[in-house]
Symmetry: C2
Subunit: 258 residues, 2 copies
């Protein structure tokens, strides 16, 4: 069964895109067939995988607006086992267009889920925008689980309760199978007292929901997208690359248990 | 004349809230009367100034929905010259409610601008959510200028062109006086090659629009909100506090020139 994970957190800049790109790549590296869906109008996941704005004439907006087919929009990256549905700037307009439909929450699921199954993907990762609007709701309605990147900073803790409430509401009203697949601590700096304190707070509150793997703050991680590469291709010896490989193994274990 | 600055960038986590809180405080410290408007449903600016979620029963949502008066919602912080209109979680619902009005873009301006003038504020700073939706558009329509915090990272550069297009569109259609007041580089780390490269790129592209003051990455800045304080009150000797004091002086100079 295809596992569909929404990478979501309405707090901005917590590492959603970075986690979506690098987890998709490390899952592909251990022979999982992966589709990355860039549902954020900013399109950072598409750029981070080397597809510039100029080369996205047909993109996810066109697929969702029924102006192009899945095969026309799909970008086969040069990473084996990893495909991408790239974002388009018009996605922001889509949010308004969706709200006029009868079942606005189900549109992305109705369009994309059939391909997730027929194309034999093991994992679909959906990079979400920093909001709890209709695009993110659509991602949650389609997903089997939610992966929540959580920056080890004070402001990032504030929004978690709101996010969990939204996940619960989507589960009750639109998607019974939806679970919180896990919380991943990002940009962790063990020399920083606040970082350590946030980790302790989060593990005390959420227990096993929190991945054992912690993603360290690592400059190679933030340099990689400027070369259009995931960190395991940009610098596979870096602490960031190793952490994302560990994360892939742990994500697979979590899915095997369920 | 009251200067109204929208602190805006749809890229998440670039330092919008941190800049709104700390610039508001340093402007107040040099005897400007300042109103901070927390237009982000996350409410980080309100928390960062010490007003917990529990103490915001009457908030900006109620003022904008005509369920409370300005005086009932206004929070006089214990920082002289600094008042706050705190966010409420219902603000996210407001975006949907606004879209049903005749002139949805003008609602925040119609409600808040009269008080900005009558209460004699020198500066009004509006903390915006990480999006270009109706809440941010409302902030731009009300503002005299836009202050853009720009994190010195690769992904942060991507969204600037889109933001500038949106500012232009608001200027043409709704608010002729709107200008790009300035770009502030944030979380700058001089040891980090990418940081230095982004600064050079940005100064080459935007010239004098870029503030001379650069906000360094400084752990004291990210610790301060967990104590409900701006950084100049939490640790006034820190590099972050000094940078935000410089920023206030430069912001005042920019406004005096115009
Ligand atoms: N482990 C890390 N170490 C260092 N930098 C990181 C790390 N993870 C992410 N970053 C950097 O931090 C910034 C924010 O990360 P990213 O853009 O992935 O967050 P996001 O949650 O997707 O943001 P948005 O809310 O705008 O979608 C980026 O510039 C990214 O390169
Ligand atoms: N100069 C700095 N040095 C160190 N940390 C910083 C600095 N500026 C901001 N931060 C931290 O970086 C994180 C992101 O900053 P902040 O929340 O202000 O950004 P934002 O743009 O308002 O985010 P959002 O898009 O979610 O509204 C916060 O945890 C904040 O404490
Ligand atoms: Mg992102
Ligand atoms: Mg903010």
């Amino acid at each position: 069964m295809t596992r569909i994970l929404a990478v979501s957190n309405q707090k901005g800049g917590v590492g959603k895109t970075t986690t979506a790109i690098n987890l998709a790549t490390t899952l592909a590296a251990v022979d999982k067939k992966v589709l990355l869906v860039d549902l954020d109008p900013q399109g950072n996941a598409s750029t981070g995988l080397g597809l510039s704005l100029a080369n996205r004439e047909k993109n996810l907006y066109h697929l969702l607006a029924d102006l192009a087919t899945f095969d026309e929009v799909l970008f086969k990256t040069d990473i084996p086992n990893l495909d991408l549905l790239p974002a388009g700037q018009d996605l922001a307009a889509l949010e308004v267009e969706l709200s006029t439909l009868d079942d606005p929450q189900f549109h992305v699921k109705n369009v994309i889920e059939p391909y997730a199954n027929s194309e034999g993907y093991d994992f679909v990762l959906v990079d979400c925008p920093p909001a709890l609007g209709l695009l993110t709701i659509n991602a949650l309605v389609m997903s089997t689980g939610v992966l929540v990147p959580l920056q080890t900073e004070f402001f990032a803790l504030e929004g978690v309760a709101q996010l969990l409430k939204t996940i619960e509401a989507v589960k009750e009203n639109f998607n019974q199978r939806l679970t919180l697949q896990g919380i991943v601590l990002t940009m962790f700096d063990k020399r920083n007292r606040l970082s350590v304190q946030v980790e302790n707070d989060v593990r005390n509150t959420f227990g096993d929901l929190v991945y054992k793997t912690v993603i360290p703050r690592n400059v190679r991680v933030s340099e990689a997208p400027s070369f259009g590469k995931p960190v395991i291709l940009y610098d596979m010896k870096s602490a960031g690359a190793k952490a994302y490989l560990d994360l892939a193994r742990e994500a697979i274990d979590r899915e095997d248990e369920n």
